[in-house]
């Protein structure tokens, strides 16, 4: 393992993390819900009475966030190397996997760990290690 010091951005990472934590705090204290994005989104597909509006509002907030960021400065440009086939495969795996595993990086990784939930710790260990192995295979074995 070598650390990529040029890419490493501890301060903006920490600042962004604090904002994410504040968002999760707002959501649980004001709405009484866990800011688990896969769960919030999945609920849009199987709407329950009275549970649809806040889900739409939360997702709209997420999608609108780049527009707000633009007020302060130029948006950073995301670098997406995956081709269409890989994006579709990745999307389907993320969709199915987060439903089977009842959560993603936000629900288990941030909210679950903040609640000191052993279940979320196990889920986070599972998706992190699968992510490490996948990138190892794709980058260093298949050289894609």
């Amino acid at each position: 393992m070598t650390i990529d010091w040029n890419a490493f951005t501890p301060w903006s990472a920490l600042a962004g993390g604090l904002l994410i934590g504040i968002a999760a705090a707002m959501f649980v204290l004001l709405n009484g819900r866990i800011a688990g994005i896969s769960g919030v989104v999945a609920g849009l597909l199987d709407p329950v009475r009275g549970e649809l509006g806040w889900r739409v509002a939360f997702v709209l907030g997420l999608v609108a966030s780049p527009a707000l960021y633009l007020v302060a400065g130029a948006l950073p440009h995301p670098k997406i190397d995956a081709g269409s086939g890989a994006l579709v495969l990745a999307g389907v795996l993320v969709g199915v996997g987060t439903r089977y595993g009842s959560g993603c990086t936000s629900g288990h990784g941030i909210c679950g760990l903040s609640r000191l939930s052993p279940r979320s710790l196990a889920a986070t260990a599972a998706f992190m290690s699968a992510g490490f192995v996948t990138v190892f295979v794709v980058r260093h074995l298949l050289h894609v």
């Binding site: 907030g61 969709g95 889920a123 998706f127």
Partner: protein
């Protein structure tokens, strides 16, 4: 009022992802590339978020209604089973392929990235497939009872 607070929570969440650099798949993949040139930034994102989250959830745990009067929906499932770990592993594989988790995909879509839209549509399709198969399973169980 709860729509407003949900919208604002989503907005701040998305801002955090952008500031942290996590709406950028290349940066996420840099974190997942532990055997290559590793970018530890994502660990700092989690540390920052959890530092705030621990305090917030400690307060939330003691409440029966939210500050806006909503019922607290904090399921406390504890079981660790094959669904949890297998689902987590599938998610991790997808995450490692493109560098998108659900939140990052939605935020990058909001930046007007067509590739992020492709990812989000495929993710919704994956969720819909899961939903349909669960429904079918439930229906089959009802028939056998």
């Amino acid at each position: 009022m709860q729509f407003v607070s949900a919208f604002l929570s989503g907005l701040v969440f998305g801002l955090g992802l952008i500031v942290a650099g996590m709406a950028n798949p290349a940066k996420v993949l840099g974190f997942l590339d532990v055997t290559g040139r590793w970018d530890p930034s994502l660990a700092f994102v989690m540390a920052g978020a959890i530092a705030v989250g621990i305090a917030a959830f400690a307060v939330a745990r003691k409440r029966t209604v939210s500050l806006l009067g909503a019922d607290m929906k904090l399921r406390d499932a504890r079981h660790i089973d094959r669904r949890l770990l297998g689902g987590g592993a599938l998610f991790g594989i997808g995450w490692g392929i493109a560098g998108f988790c659900p939140g990052a995909g939605l935020v990058a879509m909001g930046m007007g990235e067509v590739k992020a839209l492709v990812f989000v549509v495929a993710m919704l399709a994956g969720m819909a497939v899961f939903e349909l198969s669960e429904r079918r399973k439930r229906a089959a169980q009802l028939r056998t009872v």
